[in-house]
């Protein structure tokens, strides 16, 4: 192997040696190396196997556009696949693995796929799914047979199974000017913008500022370009109003001039500092954006163009000048433009032998000729590479080539080479621009798409605009920076650039036709033949072509393959490229970790919402459950109890003596103002204007379309002061509904709404001994039947804390709800528990609460499910006939009063087995002739009062089915059994207990 580190030169720190492993073998590199440059320096040029055919692949580029050298990083026991080696900074102990090979990179069984090449041609997946009917191998079945094999053979890296221990963050930033890209143009823009005092952010995806200045070998302002860029970067860094973000890729351009950018904060470090996120996903809102994203070099497509050793010319130059690495000893170059000549001269200068410069053009510029002379070679003009030879490249074959007619002639001539540097011209990196602009414009001179007209506030600079020289980059950069900062353009002299006067406008040659596989998209293994096949099969739109062949759909998003692919399509269609058009680039520009998108939501998607008594519940053995965001006790289990035993005991204690449940989660809304009563009359189906002060009423709300929305009690605290409660689940929805009608439907009403859910802690005390408990602990007010009748409320104190006690019942027992300031919640709760101890008070959880309400037939969200009406739930009695209300106009339309509607009933299990939520109810007991579902179970429990499994259900006909036998069909839980349909008021239907 002949790739090697040069003896001097480059921007690496040669004094600092770093050890790393690749596929288990140890190597060393230097500080400043990427994994790619270090591998090349160690002579490792075979780094991966290709996606479909498992062809050996080498490092192809030096940057984010890398299609081949994807590796898996192992860090902290976690596998992170598909990272381009060109983007990995070397650190001590770095562990990397090659991908998609079995058993090893050198000997890979999957390479047999190459023999089955036809199988994997364009549209393979579609054709297989839709496959012809050939006996048992019909389309989908064939797919299933193949799947196992394909899943193993095709693909990229393998993800790990361990949770990712890294942390990720989001960061919101605001600035006047955001500059994307810190090459010569971006640096000039930043310098110009910062002098205005505006807030500037400069984002650069590489670890260092400078871009091409770091490896162009040019002179700027009388200094080596790399030094010039470092000096300028230092000046910019010293400015207070500029924030520099390195290792930060702007990956999406969104509405409102919002740019998403991923900062890789700790990937380059062996150990992440405490608290530092691995990746930080920036959401940057900028008044103006300067896009100085540069240009990507693209390859020429020719047979054998994917052989390890073939590399982009600019990349070879960068490896030499920035990293002090030669990708080969005997290097040939193949080009259609002048830029490869500079690379040739650089490689020669660093010690390589230039074997040939093969140029498709018949004529070149004097500057190119001079560089060829420096490289010590006479260019082969009017030639093209037609084949490559060697497991790793050993030679290339060239033939005469006419760039006008694209015809080859003469015999193939071998040229010895261990590296072939290719340049097919330069394409501006218009990815972000095309997300915030109209259609890109094809430029015949540059043979590339130029940035579109902006649809958002951005301006371009440098090579991104199609500018080809560094001098132009400096001037367009400064102008863009000044303009973005709202300053006048400057006439001050720009730094002088000394550079060869090259013409990088390429000859319009994208492909050399010949025998053998020629790859367009290396990462997805899309060949020229795939593109032509797609065309023959009728895929002419570029959007279809892309999806059918998967060209440009790999993780590199076709950075190297886009233009060649379009050119080949245009050729197949006999159209100019301009008329073929291009696909729109979508975010992300380069892959973004899912962790960065989840950011601080990683590991816990939703915040925990806790009641003031939460810690008491946990301390007293409650098993907590999530109800929306809230944590609520499910049961307070005792040792050895099952869930059913626990809630049965809790519910039975309520019916027998007294229980207490935390109801702080109920939605609470303060409704205040002179029009509060009028407002409530309109939003509730029943009347509230007639409610006396210090009384409560149960209320029902409908939606505009007549469907039930929510229920709850509302208390009148003053003439114009109401406290509304909603169900826990609907608190937010009801608040929004009320705010909406107040802002939009009756904007003239003087009513204020404030969410006071969190202001009040609530405890419901229920059971025949509830009053006795209150009597021993409430001071300042009597709580007897006279002072506190059903639906009455009083103010008092419990253990010195002010409370509001309302008598109402959800359980059907004599019951009270005690409210106090949330900060007193635990204090009051504990006082109630103490007062209840003589009566054996039981705290009860959601399960017992559910059992008690099912026994009473009270509805909740399971029945108010967004489909049921008040009549469906037998709540007609709450529909006032004296006044209109929201929903009254549409609640009785024909569809909502049909006989076949699902209506509320009770259900008793007749086989002694629990019912299942969502289980269907059928009339037939014959498992083979079930007939249609007539409804479903909404809630179920074991009823301690009835000593039976019972449930609530919505069934066709409702009440009319009372007394009938039916069956529940619950195949998921393997339950089919008889039930009796009864009234939903299972227990104490007259309500004697709660009025007692």
């Amino acid at each position: 192997m002949t790739a090697r580190r040069t003896s001097s030169g480059g921007l690496i720190e040669r004094s600092r040696t770093i050890g790393f492993t690749f596929d288990g073998r140890s190597y060393t590199g230097h500080s400043g190396d990427t994994l790619a440059s270090a591998l090349v320096a160690n002579g490792v040029t075979l780094v991966g196997r290709s996606f479909k055919y498992h062809r050996p692949r080498g490092i192809f580029t030096a940057s984010v556009d890398e299609p081949n050298a994807l590796v898996t990083i192992l860090k902290d026991g976690v596998r992170e696949p598909n990272i381009p080696a060109t983007q990995i900074e070397l650190f001590e102990g770095l562990e990397a693995e090659s991908q998609n090979r079995f058993p090893s990179l050198e000997f890979d069984l999957g390479a047999l796929n190459q023999l089955a090449g036809r199988l994997f041609s364009a549209g393979f997946y579609y054709k297989t799914f839709m496959g012809p009917v050939i006996g048992p191998l019909r389309g989908t079945r064939f797919w299933m047979i193949c799947e196992h094999f394909i899943r193993r053979a095709a693909g990229l890296g393998r993800a790990g199974y361990k949770p990712d221990p890294a942390r990720y963050e989001r960061m919101n930033a605001f600035c006047d000017v955001l500059i994307v890209g810190a090459g010569p143009a971006g640096l000039m823009a930043a310098e110009a913008a910062m002098s205005s005092g505006k807030r500037v952010i400069l984002a650069e995806q590489e670890p260092h500022l400078g871009g091409s200045a770091r490896w162009s070998g040019e002179m700027i302002g009388g200094k080596a370009a790399a030094d010039w860029s470092q000096d300028l970067a230092r000046r910019i860094d010293a400015s207070e109003n500029v924030r520099i973000l390195t290792r930060t890729t702007a990956w999406g351009y969104y509405d409102g001039n919002n740019i998403a950018a991923l900062e890789r904060v700790t990937d380059h470090l062996a150990d992440a500092p405490k608290g530092a996120p691995r990746h930080r996903n920036w959401a940057i809102r900028a008044d103006t954006v300067v896009l100085a994203t540069g240009a990507f070099e693209r390859p020429i497509v020719f047979p054998g163009n994917d052989r390890p050793g073939v590399m982009l010319a600019g990349a070879t130059e960068r490896y030499a000048r920035e990293f002090g690495v030669l990708p080969g000893e005997k290097i040939a170059l193949f080009t259609n433009n002048d830029s490869a000549y500079r690379a040739a001269a650089a490689l020669r200068q660093f010690g390589a032998t230039i074997m040939a410069i093969i140029d498709v053009r018949a004529k070149i510029s004097p500057a190119a000729r001079a560089l060829a002379e420096e490289a010590g070679v006479e260019p082969l003009l009017g030639f093209a590479v037609t084949a490559t030879v060697g497991r790793r490249l050993t030679k290339v074959l060239v033939r005469r080539f006419d760039a006008e007619t694209e015809r080859l002639s003469g015999d193939a001539r071998p040229i010895e080479a261990d590296c072939l540097a290719v340049s097919g011209g330069w394409s501006p990196a218009i990815h972000l621009a095309s997300q915030a602009g109209r259609n890109p414009k094809w430029d015949e001179e540059l043979c590339a798409f130029l940035p579109p007209e902006p649809t958002q506030a951005w301006a371009g600079a440098g090579a991104f605009t199609g500018a080809v020289t560094t001098a132009e980059a400096l001037s367009t950069g400064r102008n863009a920076g000044l303009k973005a900062a709202g300053k006048k353009l400057s006439r001050a002299k720009l730094p002088e650039v000394t550079a060869p006067n090259l013409d990088i406008h390429p000859a319009s040659v994208f492909e050399i036709k010949g025998n053998g596989k020629a790859f367009v998209d290396f990462q997805h293994d899309v060949t020229v033949e795939d593109v032509r096949l797609a065309h023959r099969e009728g895929f002419v739109s570029v959007e279809h072509l892309k999806r059918y062949t998967t060209l440009g759909m790999a993780t590199d998003q076709g950075k190297t393959s886009n233009v060649p692919g379009l050119a080949i399509m245009a050729d197949a269609r006999g159209l100019p490229i301009r008329d073929v058009g291009t696909t729109r680039f979508r975010p992300p520009f380069s892959p973004v970790s899912i962790g960065a998108l989840a950011a601080e939501k990683y590991g816990h998607f939703k915040p925990d919402r806790l009641t003031p008594m939460h810690d008491w519940h946990v301390e007293h053995g409650a098993r907590m459950m999530n109800v929306g965001l809230w944590h609520r006790p499910m049961i307070y289990g005792q040792p050895g109890e099952t869930v059913e035993q626990a809630y049965t005991r809790e519910a039975a204690t309520v019916r027998r003596s007294v229980g207490i449940v935390d109801v702080s989660t109920l939605g609470k809304i303060a409704v205040k103002g002179p029009d509060a009563a009028v407002f409530l009359d309109r939003v509730y189906t029943n009347q509230f204007s007639t409610l006396p002060i210090n009384k409560a009423r149960y209320g029902l709300m409908l939606r505009k379309d007549g469907i039930a929305l929510d229920d709850g009690t509302t208390w009148r605290l003053g003439e114009h002061d109401f406290l509304m409660t909603t169900t826990t689940a609907n608190a937010g929805r009801v608040m929004q509904h009320l705010e909406y009608v107040l802002d939009v439907v009756w904007p003239d009403l003087k009513v204020h709404l404030t969410s006071v859910t969190d202001q009040w802690a609530g405890a419901a005390l229920a059971g025949p001994n509830a009053r006795k408990v209150l009597e021993t602990c409430v001071a300042g007010s009597a709580v007897d039947n006279e002072a506190l009748p059903f639906m009455g409320l009083v103010y008092g104190e419990i253990d010195r804390a002010p409370v509001l006690v309302c008598r109402l019942s959800f359980s059907g027992e004599l019951a009270y709800e005690v409210y106090c300031g949330a900060g007193h919640g635990k204090h009051v709760w504990e006082a109630l528990i103490t007062a209840g101890e003589p009566h054996g008070i039981a705290p009860y959880g959601m399960e017992a609460l559910g059992a008690l309400r099912i026994e009473k037939g009270h509805v909740t969200g399971a029945e108010i499910d967004g489909r049921t009406t008040a009549r469906d739930l037998y709540l007609d009695w709450m529909l006032s006939k004296k006044k209109p209300f929201i929903g009254s106009a549409l609640m009785d339309r024909p569809g909502l009063i049909e006989k076949t509607r699902l209506r509320l009933v009770g259900v008793i299990s007749l086989d002694g087995r629990p019912l299942g939520g969502g289980a269907h109810i059928v009339e037939s007991g014959d498992l083979n002739e079930l007939g249609e579902s007539i409804g479903h179970i909404t809630a179920f429990c074991y009823s301690p009062a009835l000593a039976q499994y019972i449930g609530l259900a919505l069934v066709k006909g409702g009440k009319e089915l009372h007394g009938k036998r039916a069956y529940i069909s619950d195949p998921l839980r393997k339950h089919f059994g008889p039930v009796q349909i009864v009234s939903h008021h299972f227990f104490d239907p007259e309500g004697k207990r709660m009025h007692g």
């Binding site: 802002d743 939009v744 003239d748």
Partner: protein, 93 residues
């Protein structure tokens, strides 16, 4: 997408809740004109272009806004407080 709230300034769309078509007016509650109610509750023109719609700044000042938004581009032409605008309209009527 950003919505420039007249109280809070431009904020991310994630702070807002879409609250429906603002070109429809709720009939009087006393109205029994079923067609008018159907139109209000169900019928929507769904234009490709500028559209008046309600957005609540639910993750901010809680006010409902009338936003004129181009449904093709998300460009926002106009924003006003719904309550103030509707009250003004009510006085003029």
């Amino acid at each position: 997408m950003l919505i420039p709230c007249p109280h809070c300034g431009p904020r991310e769309v994630s702070e807002f809740s879409y609250q429906g078509d603002a070109t429809r007016t709720c009939p009087e509650l006393t109205s029994t004109d079923v067609k008018a109610w159907y139109d209000y509750v169900y019928n929507r023109p769904n234009p490709a272009g500028p559209h008046r719609e309600y957005w609540q700044h639910s993750g901010g000042c809680r006010a409902h806004l009338i936003v004129t938004r181009d449904t093709r581009t998300h460009e926002i032409h106009d924003v006003a407080f719904a309550r103030a605008a509707l009250n003004r309209a009510g006085e003029q009527a």
